[in-house]
Every structure is written in C-alpha cells, then in structure tokens.
C-alpha cells in the first residue's frame, strides 16, 4: 500500500509577505492528507503561516543535461548588471 502513495512537495510561507519556499517532500494518499502531514512534519515549531502541497509528478523541472543550454547564455552578458557600469566621480543615487 505504502509504495502506491504519491510523493508531494511541500512549500512553507514563513511570514506573511514572503514567498512560499520549498521545505521538502512527503508521501500521502491524497492532497488533503498531504496537507495534514505537512503540518505535522514541517511546521511543528511555528515555521510558517501557510502551506502549499503539490504532487511531485505535477512539477515540470529542467533537466541537468539542459542546464548549459538554459543558463549559459547569461554568462557573457555581464552588462545586465548595474554594477558593470563605471560611474563618473561624485554621482549619487544611481
């Protein structure tokens, strides 16, 4: 029975105003139970004010072998950072 329970990813919002962050995962028979388990497993010490659970299988993730094609194009574009530009002496609030 246990190995037919799907995996869920758990996201916790630590404080109102912050984004939900990935905390870990767990197995549960349905979303309702996943939420209950998440409360027991991940927020026993007031770690959060809100929980999201998502079926792991529903997450579409980039693959390790795709990483160069996905992320390397940013490597040769340092001019996208504000700090790349030299400012004249004395200029403020830029």
């Amino acid at each position: 029975m246990a190995d037919t329970m799907p995996l869920y990813e758990v996201f916790v919002r630590a404080r109102r105003g912050l984004e939900h962050r990935h905390a870990g995962s767990l197995r549960a028979q349905d979303a309702e139970m996943a939420l209950q388990y998440a409360r027991e497993i991940y927020t026993r010490r007031r770690e959060g004010v809100s929980l999201w659970v998502v079926r792991s299988g529903d997450i579409v993730a980039s693959q390790e072998e795709d990483a160069p094609a996905f992320f390397d194009p940013a490597d040769d574009k340092p001019y996208r950072q504000a700090t790349w530009y030299k400012l004249p002496e004395g200029v403020k609030n830029l």
């Binding site: 109102r16 105003g17 984004e19 809100s50 792991s56 299988g57 997450i59 579409v60 993730a61 980039s62 693959q63 574009k77 001019y79 996208r80 950072q81 504000a82 790349w84 530009y85 030299k86 400012l87 004249p88 004395g90 200029v91 403020k92 609030n93 830029l94």
Partner: protein, 336 residues
C-alpha cells in the same frame, strides 16, 4: 452585516500592522478593483514602453550598445509579464486587461507617448524615465498586496541596470564631440518635463490618493516622489555638464530642495487624454502586433490539444497492456 464589518476590520488591521494581503485573503471589492487597475496599467506601461526604445535596437551605434538595449527592452517585456501575472492572482484575466488597453478604458504611463528622436534619447530615457520609475517603484516593494510587492523587488533590481546604462550613454555623449554633447542636451530638453510629470498631478489635484494611502498601496504622495526625483536628477545633470531646461530652477536653502518653475499640467492632461505626439501610434502598434500574433496563440492551443489527445491515447494503450502504473514516471521533463 456584522460579519462583513469584522472582515473589513481584520483586513485593515493587517494592513496597519504592516502585514501583507495575499491572494486568498478576504479583501474589500474596491481594494481588489483598485489593485487590478493599478497593476494592469503598470503592466501596460512596461509593454508600451518597449516601443520608443525598440525603434533604436537596429540603429544603435555599436554592437555593445545594441546588445545592452536589446537586454533592456527584453527586461521591460519581462516586467510586463510579472505584473500581468500579479494582476491575475486577483482574478483579472489577461484577455480582459488587453481588451481594456485596446478599448482605451485602461491607460499606460503618459511618458511613452513621446518619440525617441535620436540616439541620445535612449540615454535620456534610461537615465530619467527609469530613474523616475525606480523612485515610484521602490515604495511599492512594501505595497500591502504581497504578489505586487514581490514582483516589484525583482523589477527594481533590473531597473537599476536600465538607469545606469542610460546614464552611461549620456556620459559618453556629454564628454564626446560638441555635436554629441548638443545631442545629449537636446534629449534632456525634450525628456525633462515629461519625466517630471511622470509622478502625476500635484497632491491637491490628485483623486484616490488618500484611500490608496490608507490601504498602503501608495506610501508617498506624488509631490514627495516628484521632489525626490528632481533633487537627484538636477545633481546628476550637473555632473554631465548639461543644463536642466528650467530657467526658474533654484536651490532652496531653507528646505534643502530644488524648486522648479511652473509645471505645464495642461500639456500633461492633454497627453493623458490621448493627444500626445504618439498616442495613436502606440495603441495602433499594440493592436496590430496583438492581432498579427493571433496565429501563434491559435497554434499553441492546437498543439496543446493534440498533445493531450496523444497522451490520452497512450494512457489507454498502456492501461490495456497493464502498465498504467509505470506510465506516470516515464515522460522526460516531468521527473524531478
């Protein structure tokens, strides 16, 4: 009735307590409507703002400037997307927001109704318009609505690159040949007042402000933000050796602020009402590009339909083969 009052009181207490409102929280209808309006108009501004700068991508004076400008314009498109998505968390639909723009029921920042006539305008826009945007957007990082505030954190970080690249162009021109310096001065002359007007009408003429303040959607008045921009930009112009086109501009020792001459609010109102140099062109371009792109949206929908049908077929086949259990995990890209 008592219950509605309770909800409203709790909502306001949260805001007074500097807590954020999140999409699933109860909120007054007017708060939701105000935010949808503001966030969608902010999104429209980012996207329409791509037009004046976009016209210079093919004409940038060097490969370096071209790649920088391309990145900047791409960022603005991204800002539009962050913001449309934030508005969607409030129940707004993308189609309705775009329809409101096309139907002229929603506005965008009036500054983008001015043309970018020379390369120096790209410098002036990055420096002045993005500076003004930053000054407007920094307090929005603490806006009471969580998704808007968080989108603004990303946006502000990227705007800082925009502002620097603009100032960098101005430095190059202002320290170049006399003709180049004249170009920089001409661009400053044309962009100065519209930039000052970006903060909206004076406080005593501005509607809705008080309520937005109470809801902490807005934290500083138009006058305060405008003053901040003027104080910073006047100093930055001095370092460029350029002159702000305002003969009445003076330093007020007592308050520690620059005082400008009269701001032409009639011109501002005229441009907002639709009679600026490029209003028609901006909207027409947006409508045309949106219509020209219809086939892409149709193709995307057709492809999704085909994929879904294929997947259903495959699932049926595998169920027959008694392999249903396996099938969930196999498709590449759906594994963690």
């Amino acid at each position: 009735m008592a219950e509605a009052q309770d909800l409203e009181a709790r909502f306001q207490a949260r805001i007074d307590n500097e807590e954020r409102i999140e999409p699933k929280d109860w909120m007054p209808d007017a708060y939701r409507k105000t935010l949808i309006r503001q966030i969608s108009q902010h999104a429209h501004s980012e996207v329409i703002g791509m037009q004046p700068e976009g016209t210079w991508i093919t004409r940038a004076p060097s490969l370096k400037r071209k790649t920088i400008l391309l990145s900047k314009v791409q960022d603005e498109g991204g800002h539009g997307l962050y913001l449309y998505s934030a508005a969607e968390t409030l129940g707004a639909s993308r189609e309705e927001m775009i329809a409101a723009l096309h139907g002229e029921r929603a506005k965008y920042s009036s500054i983008f109704n001015y043309p970018a006539l020379t390369w120096a305008d790209i410098g002036a826009i990055g420096w002045l318009v993005d500076s003004a945007a930053i000054i407007n957007q920094i307090p929005l990082q603490r806006c009471s609505y969580g998704p808007y505030a968080r989108a603004m954190v990303r946006i502000c970080k990227e705007e800082s690159f925009h502002q620097r690249q603009g100032y960098d162009i101005m430095v190059s021109l202002a320290t170049g040949t006399p003709e180049q310096k004249a170009m920089a001065q001409d661009a400053l002359n044309r962009w100065w007042w519209p930039s000052v007007q970006m903060f909206g009408p004076p406080d005593d003429a501005s509607t809705h402000s008080a309520r937005s303040m109470a809801w902490k959607i807005k934290r500083y008045s138009n006058d305060e933000l405008r003053q901040k921009f003027i104080d910073q930009a006047v100093e930055q112009a001095k370092i460029l050796g350029l002159e702000v086109p305002d003969p009445d501009l003076e330093w007020d020792e007592a308050s520690g602020h620059y005082r400008t001459g009269a701001i032409d609010w009639d011109e501002f109102n005229r441009v907002v009402a639709g009679d600026g140099p490029c209003n028609r062109e901006r909207l027409e371009t947006h409508r045309r590009v949106h219509e020209d792109g219809a086939w892409v949206r149709e193709a995307v929908a057709a492809y999704a339909e085909k994929q879904a049908a294929r997947q259903a077929q495959q699932v049926a086949r595998e169920a027959n083969a008694g392999e249903a259990e396996q099938s969930r995990r196999v498709s590449r890209g759906r594994e963690l």
